[in-house]
């Protein structure tokens, strides 16, 4: 059973299709990184799953049932666009309303539990409007975590967080998936952070799913390369191409792709009388992979 299964999902606003036949599968227990440029349809998809928008066509299933099923919805937590809190109410009052909404038997204890998770146990009495952007994001997470969610939908949750906030968020998400078996759908433009936690990826473009892959598959597609600088770049490139299949010149540097044995590169250059000014081993991460994929699709 998958946590989310979407087929042929369409959504139009004033005749313009933001989602155009989206298919998406989020496995149970996954941290699904949902990637795409601005306006690609990420937030619209999340809002549709949450029942905020009415689909124009297509099907959404959560845990094998219709996404409208009240039993399933009771265990969906979301942070979309903002925390959805009353500005003049305190953090505690906002969380209490959500706890009542979820029929939690021990609301007081649950509120303190989630506040502890988001490291805000001392701020319960603070009015929501007095909180900083980062604090509001954390309160939004706390709201979403109330009621032991089986599915957590987070739209750009890292936005506005400082380095420490990002680390806390990473720890929270990893913990709830590992200890509670919660499935997380998370969209973010900060791909470097996403790469640290995601187990699956979905790349969306113009309302259609371009690619879905696991973190392991992504790892396999991410190439390693060695960057180097020599006295004569052109001659070094010709010499390296004799031994290594993929050598490219980029920004006054040479890149030798898919060679793990850096020593072999150095030896070959020195044997041919080159002087090495810079040598660095790199890896193409999610961000580079995404950019490359997008440019490929643009060209297609």
């Amino acid at each position: 059973m998958n946590a989310i299964e979407i087929t042929g999902l369409k959504k139009s606003f004033h005749g313009l299709y933001v989602l155009d036949g989206l298919n998406m599968t989020v496995p149970l227990g996954a941290i699904y990184g949902f990637i795409g440029e601005n306006g690609s349809g990420k937030s619209t998809t999340e809002k549709l799953i949450c029942g905020h928008l009415v689909p124009s066509a297509g099907h959404i299933q959560l845990f094998g049932k219709s996404y409208k099923d009240a039993g399933i919805r009771a265990r969906v937590g979301a942070l979309i666009e903002n925390a959805g809190c009353f500005p003049n109410a305190t953090i505690y009052q906002n969380l209490m309303m959500q706890a009542i909404n979820l029929n939690l038997p021990r609301p007081h204890e649950d509120i303190h539990r989630v506040l502890k998770i988001v490291r805000m146990e001392d701020g319960a009495g603070l009015k929501f409007k007095k909180c900083s952007l980062g604090m509001k994001q954390r309160i939004g997470i706390a709201m979403a975590l109330l009621g032991d969610p089986a599915l957590l939908i987070l739209d750009e949750p890292i936005n506005g967080l400082d380095t420490d906030g990002m680390r806390i968020m990473r720890e929270i998400l990893t913990d709830i998936t590992q200890s509670h078996g919660c499935t997380v759908l998370i969209s973010s433009h900060i791909l470097g952070e996403l790469e640290k936690i995601a187990t699956h990826y979905g790349i969306i473009r113009q309302g259609k799913m371009v690619q879905e892959l696991t973190a392991t598959e992504m790892e396999g597609r991410c190439r390693t390369f060695t960057t180097l600088k020599t006295g004569d770049i052109q001659r070094a490139k010709l010499d390296l191409q004799k031994l290594f299949p993929d050598v490219r010149e980029e920004g006054g540097e040479l890149r030798v792709y898919d060679v793990n044995d850096t020593e072999a590169i150095v030896r070959h250059l020195l044997d041919n009388g080159h002087t090495i000014q810079l040598l660095q081993k790199n890896r193409i991460g999610l961000e580079e992979y995404y950019i490359e994929l997008m440019s490929r699709k643009e060209g297609a």
Binding site: L28, H52, R73, C85, A89, N101, Q178
Partner: protein, 275 residues
């Protein structure tokens, strides 16, 4: 990734859903200063209107709006056609304040984004409509209570006479209280369909709350009991000559309109985007 067991999902019953929805709305109502401000307004207005009699001097231009203190609660007979402000100034004014209060109450749901939290979880659109209607009806009923206290205080202060038969007065008060449900449902419906235009929703609530459309219709058709099928008509009908039939009519009209507005509101919410 570790093996994850499929979670259990127990569907909440209608009773559980309504309990949680009403719980949220009542919690919010009691924790917002707005509710207490409106209760105070509902008490102050009749007290001030009644006290105006004190300022009326014999032979002066100002005149007391009425001599019987209970007229601040209801007119002696159903007066759909109003000739002066005294005929208009009664407990029906609560439904004007109530309209503004409901607009602010529901408007905050949308402006804060809290409505997303409600609809993300198990709440149905019908739960939302019903809960808002009931809680706002309760708030208006409380405002009727403070209005009554304010009116009595104003009457005592200005030394007005308290002439009324007990049961007709009781039926009039109860009639207006039960009308709160119909009015609250109307305002909830209005604010749901105008959720993206807060200014328009608050203005239309105010206009309908004043009963201007019915007063206008009464100017054409006269003091016709047919006007009782409308919320304002039935609210006017609950007067100091009320009987048990008046109370039953008010209850019926209020409930029927509440059902209609709840059904329409649910339909619109279910077929349109939350934003």
């Amino acid at each position: 990734m570790q093996t994850v067991l499929a979670p259990d999902f127990a569907s909440p019953t209608l009773r559980q859903r309504m309990k949680s929805m009403l719980g949220v709305d009542f919690y919010r109502l009691f924790h917002t200063p707005m509710f207490y401000i409106f209760l105070a307004i509902a008490a102050l207005i009749p007290a001030m209107v009644s006290s105006m009699g004190m300022m009326a001097e014999p032979g002066g231009t100002a005149a007391a709006l009425f001599t019987n203190a209970w007229n601040i609660v209801a007119a002696d007979t159903p007066l759909y056609v109003v000739h002066d402000i005294g005929e208009y100034a009664n407990m029906n004014m609560v439904f004007i304040f109530g309209g503004i209060m409901v607009s602010i109450f529901i408007g905050h749901d949308y402006r804060s984004g809290y409505v997303k939290q409600l609809f993300t979880t198990h709440s149905h659109k019908s739960d939302y409509m019903l809960s808002k209607s009931l809680v706002c009806a309760f708030a208006m009923a409380c405002m009727c209570g403070t209005y009554l206290l304010g009116g009595i205080a104003g009457g005592l202060f200005s030394g007005m006479a308290f002439h009324a038969r007990v049961f007709p007065l009781l039926f009039a008060i109860l009639g207006k209280v039960v009308m709160s449900l119909g009015w609250a449902s109307l305002y909830t419906f209005l604010n749901v369909i105008l959720r993206r235009q807060f200014g328009v929703s608050i203005t239309s609530s105010f206009v309908l709350g004043t009963g201007i459309p019915i007063i206008g219709a009464a100017a054409l058709v006269g003091n016709s009991p047919l006007l009782n099928v409308f919320l304002y008509g039935s609210s006017v009908n609950a007067c100091l000559s009320s009987t048990i039939v008046t109370l039953l009519t008010c209850t019926l009209v209020s409930v029927v309109w509440a059902v209609i507005y709840n059904a329409l509101g649910t339909l619109i919410l279910a077929r349109s985007d939350v934003y």
